[in-house]
Symmetry: C2
């Protein structure tokens, strides 16, 4: 198998493990087991070890999630429909995956925020890219940040409580906020 396929498998497996159990809880042995890759291939492809692997996963997951959310958003005819589709649309996969299919980087972002400046910056860059993409669509940076906060916070509450109720409630708030008249 060509090296690039092994590399991709390692990235995909790591993203899965991070989403499910976080950064600190994911050992490199679990990564190679999940990726069905020889241990040596990990340092061959990621000489910087776990930190380099995590940095690449954060950027790759961030880009993937952004593309997914933007595709859902841009399919809709109105801002209200688009924001509703993104937030309430997140409820179904959450439930279908036993509350694992949430934001791919939040757990890692919180774990590294005060402990690893390289990875903290990577998560900050991803959140900033998402904010910019949403600002382009909503026409206002503060609204974009607020809607993104609602989505992220709802993922936390849904995963902890194993119900989609917080996502539906946050979705209604985000739709109202995204479509409200600008403050005078």
């Amino acid at each position: 198998m060509p090296p690039s396929q092994t590399r991709d498998r390692i990235l995909t497996a790591t993203a899965e493990l991070f989403r499910r159990q976080g950064y600190s809880g994911t050992g490199l042995k679990a990564v190679v087991a999940e990726a069905r890759a020889p241990f040596g291939s990990l340092y061959h492809h990621f000489p910087g070890g776990k930190q380099q692997l995590a940095e690449e996963v954060i950027h790759a997951s961030g880009a993937y999630f952004q593309a997914l959310v933007c595709a859902v958003y841009d399919e809709q005819a109105t801002t209200a429909d688009a924001v509703r589709a993104v937030l309430t649309g997140a409820a179904e996969p959450l439930e279908a995956t036993d509350y694992e299919a949430a934001c791919p980087i939040t757990t890692v972002a919180l774990e590294v925020a005060s402990t690893d400046e390289v990875l903290r910056r990577a998560t900050a860059e991803v959140f900033e890219r998402w904010t910019v993409a949403l600002t382009e669509r909503l026409g206002d940076r503060d609204r974009a940040l607020a809607v993104l906060a609602a989505l992220e916070g709802a993922f936390v509450l849904c995963r902890a409580r194993r119900t989609t109720e917080p996502m539906l409630a946050a979705g209604a708030m985000a739709v109202a906020h995204a479509t409200a008249a600008p403050p005078s």
Copy 2:
């Protein structure tokens, strides 16, 4: 020193460490070092080990944070002032503590959501108690869930990006949502 003081020091130290570096990233050696407690005292006071310790910390931190937020809320004259005080009021301690003074249980909640059912339930119980307290004040459960999601999500974005901008934006949305006329 009486055992109860050691027990309290262990709980406080663990809460601090969880907030800063999460559950998986916090070893019991770090806990006893931070608590200035002998290692043996940990299993004396918490025979169930790290899981029991975490469960007690989640409940204690949850009750502490709830009391703090309710005190801030109940000091205000109007719903708008109260929601604003809670959310935008969270911005100042965040900045003053180098973005560590955020929700005390979110990081742990995300780490354990798919990996430890005992601890997942503990975080779910805390989030439910917060939701009930906020529902009593806002008069509507969906609004309470949405405002809580906005607060939680803003903590994530602020910690990752080291700016209070998301909290201020989420605060404006939460105030508008908490005070909007009920949907007809």
